[in-house]
Symmetry: C2
Subunit: 231 residues, 2 copies
């Protein structure tokens, strides 16, 4: 988590026009010749688990579109502890603050192997009028996600929080989902790693989830829903 930003592997220059998830991302509204305006390189990177997109305080020169994987946004507390304040997944934008501020406000670290597009802030600035609608949508999503984290993941008993986390980790339709380290679960739910471990173990024993590979789980949605809502 310290010096592994170097670990980001350069994959190539992105060709946004052919992007497979373009309707999900910032450039959804752009037309053919709008891409001519982009003369700074947009890079296509992939990152292993634990690699950081940026650190708090670092000069904010880029925004990042998440194409695949999962990121945590974490912030530090006066007492030295830290807390995960949001999760970002496919289609989300990390580092939006680059548009209005000079430095990043979180550490953005990959929780699952990830692919991202790195877009210079100047490209966004140049395209501003064309991107307006999408930018609004992305900001809106950022706020929604953050509220979701407080509402679902910082409220209720540890059992409820873990259950809701399992439900948020992947869409209902997904066959299985990947969980992350117990420390991260703790920092996200506001509980200790030990409690996180105990609750996950209890869910396994009770059949609410099944571990089909290390940290890959099949979910019993009915059971989890029940736990998430229990009085």
């Amino acid at each position: 988590m310290r010096d592994n930003e170097i670990e980001a592997a350069w994959h190539g220059l992105a060709s946004c026009e052919q992007c497979s998830i373009r309707d999900l991302v910032l450039f959804a509204d752009l037309k053919g010749d709008d891409f001519g305006i982009i003369h700074l390189p947009i890079e296509d990177l992939w990152l292993p688990v634990g690699a950081a997109l940026y650190q708090p305080g670092q000069a904010a020169g880029h925004v990042f579109t998440v194409r695949e994987g999962l990121f945590k946004l974490e912030q530090y507390l006066p007492d030295g502890n830290h807390r995960i304040v949001s999760l970002l997944g496919q289609g989300d934008v990390a580092g939006l603050e680059a548009i209005v501020a000079d430095s990043y406000e979180h550490a953005a670290v990959a929780l699952a192997p990830a692919k991202v597009c790195r877009i210079p802030r100047d490209v966004v600035a140049r395209l501003t009028p064309k991107l307006h609608r999408q930018l609004m949508k992305k900001w809106h999503e950022a706020v929604q996600r953050s509220h979701e984290c407080t509402r679902e993941l910082s409220t209720g008993s540890a059992r409820q929080r873990v259950a809701r986390l399992f439900l948020l980790l992947a869409p209902e339709s997904a066959r299985h989902c990947r969980l992350f380290g117990r420390d991260d679960i703790g920092a996200l739910l506001g509980i200790t790693p030990e409690t996180a471990s105990r609750v996950v173990a209890e869910f396994k024993r009770g059949g609410s989830v099944t571990e089909i590979a290390p940290n890959i789980f099949e979910r019993n949605l009915g059971a989890l829903d029940g736990i998430a809502a229990e009085g």
Copy 2:
């Protein structure tokens, strides 16, 4: 909290050009003749404690600039409970989602007597290019506030959370600050009203705060800082 949106008193039509806090708000960048574009009325309202600006699901026709007072944004949980996910104060904008969505996502309720400007979404839409920079700033602030709520108010012991709440309630320079009902403190900090009451009482006894009038407190910033950061 139920049907008291009616309680909002109409104060008059706003004259944004002479607004005393214009540099804080959405229209900060507008020039003299830009105001000609606004032909829908911008209303100036004040609301008593407990009055709602809007309810979740309600058609989102306006955004609101908070000129004075304090609002809570609350959302409802699957189990029927609710949780305050953010606070809004002077200069903040409530109901930003009106720009990109059709209905509001929270209940916005006054926690202190409040003055707001009610701006039709069409006015914002019409002024879009001029407002772009301010809109970005406001969205950014919304995200920051929300992250602040998880980081400061949903992390650590009840003592720490209450101490941090006192510190957030007003700038350091403020002589005193107004606290709100114990139920709201609970819903904001993720603790029970009883615990909230007990901790506030303990702070009073210990001299960390002094109640100079019902729910008006003078703060001992040093003591509160210490509690907020205790290991």
